[in-house]
């Protein structure tokens, strides 16, 4: 089901500005089968954690660009491409860990266990084995963290969770 992969290309990266908690921000793009362009933002956080976000290029000026649905019905190909983008970064450095947040749709009032989170977490469990990564789910914040087993220790795990709890999850949603 998740075999489709659209060719993507790396555009640019930039360093964090004042008030941003990530270290580096990478930008990539790909065009889906419906000839619609998607922008993928990969934020690099301390502890070598990459957080992936994506939105339709047409929605780039909207403040709710992460919440809007494209209605193109091509979710499987798009999610699959995003997973391959994560693998592209993993090829560069094999100690990267990954994370994402399932943003609520416009109909959803709370951030608890959103539709996107349900879908993305299922797909991640399906595509990425727990041999290389430890999968952690945070239903209350609809956040998902995959910690690389090469660097995984209880201490690092707790530090990562603390970092995201204070800076990212609660602030972003």
């Amino acid at each position: 089901m998740f075999d489709t992969k659209y060719p993507f290309r790396y555009i640019k990266h930039r360093k964090a500005r004042k008030g941003e908690y990530f270290v580096l921000e990478h930008m990539l793009t790909f065009t889906c089968r419906a000839n619609q362009r998607y922008i993928v933002i990969v934020e690099e956080y301390p502890y070598e954690v990459l957080v992936l976000k994506f939105y339709l290029k047409n929605h780039r000026d909207s403040q709710k660009k992460y919440q809007l649905l494209s209605k193109l019905r091509m979710a499987s190909g798009i999610i699959s491409t995003c997973t391959h983008i994560l693998l592209y970064f993993l090829e560069k450095k094999d100690t990267y860990s990954f994370g994402f947040v399932g943003a609520p749709t416009l109909d959803e009032e709370s951030n608890n266990n959103t539709k996107r989170f349900q879908l993305y977490s299922t797909v991640m469990k399906y595509l990425i084995s727990n041999v290389r990564f430890t999968h952690l789910e945070f239903e209350a914040q609809s956040a998902y963290l995959m910690i690389n087993n090469e660097i995984y220790t209880e201490k690092i795990r707790n530090q990562m969770i603390d970092f995201f709890n204070t800076h990212y999850v609660f602030e972003e949603l």
């Binding site: 190909g77 539709k115 299922t122 399906y126 595509l127």
Partner: protein, 167 residues
């Protein structure tokens, strides 16, 4: 035995008259029927042409649809379209169906679609089809002639056995 010449000549006259009468009747009938058919054709020519044209267009459309989709009727086409909508994980309907249901249903349909699309147009060999089905490794299992739906537990077992993670 004596044969009367008078009788012979009278009989032949009668026969000739009969032949000419039949011939006249034939000519009259032919002319009348021919005219009727011509009249009928002239009246029906336009509608008949239109119906024939419509028929040709209809057959061509069906043919094109068949070539494109490898399926045999419109009902199948609609059902497959619906199944594909599910495969592409429609975010709006995901609430109503659980993930497992969705996946099982969709891949079930995928198998059916595969069978229709791959086997019918190209008469694919059964072993190739089995390989293709194995690749999809979902609840529908078997060959073109007899495939069956397996239980969810068995499906997960098969899937886990054949499933390959990306990393």
């Amino acid at each position: 035995m004596q044969i009367s010449l008078h009788n012979i000549s009278q009989d032949s006259d009668d026969a000739l008259r009969l032949v000419s009468a039949v011939s006249d009747l034939y000519q009259v009938t032919k002319r009348f029927v021919g005219k009727s058919i011509a009249n009928l054709l002239s009246i029906l020519a336009l509608p008949l042409t239109l119906v024939l044209l419509e028929l040709v267009v209809f057959i061509l459309c069906r043919k094109v649809r068949r070539i494109n989709l490898g399926i045999n009727n419109y009902k199948d086409y609609v059902r497959i379209r619906k199944a594909f909508d599910k495969v592409s994980l429609n975010m709006e309907s995901i609430d109503k169906i659980s993930n497992t249901d969705l996946e099982n249903q969709a891949t079930g349909w995928l198998h059916k679609w595969l069978i229709k699309r791959v086997t019918k147009p190209f008469l694919m060999h059964q072993s190739n089809l089995s390989a293709a089905l194995k690749k999809l490794d979902e609840p529908w299992i078997g060959t073109y002639k007899g495939f069956r739906q397996i239980s969810e537990a068995e499906a997960w077992e098969t899937r886990n056995k054949n499933h390959e993670y990306l990393i």
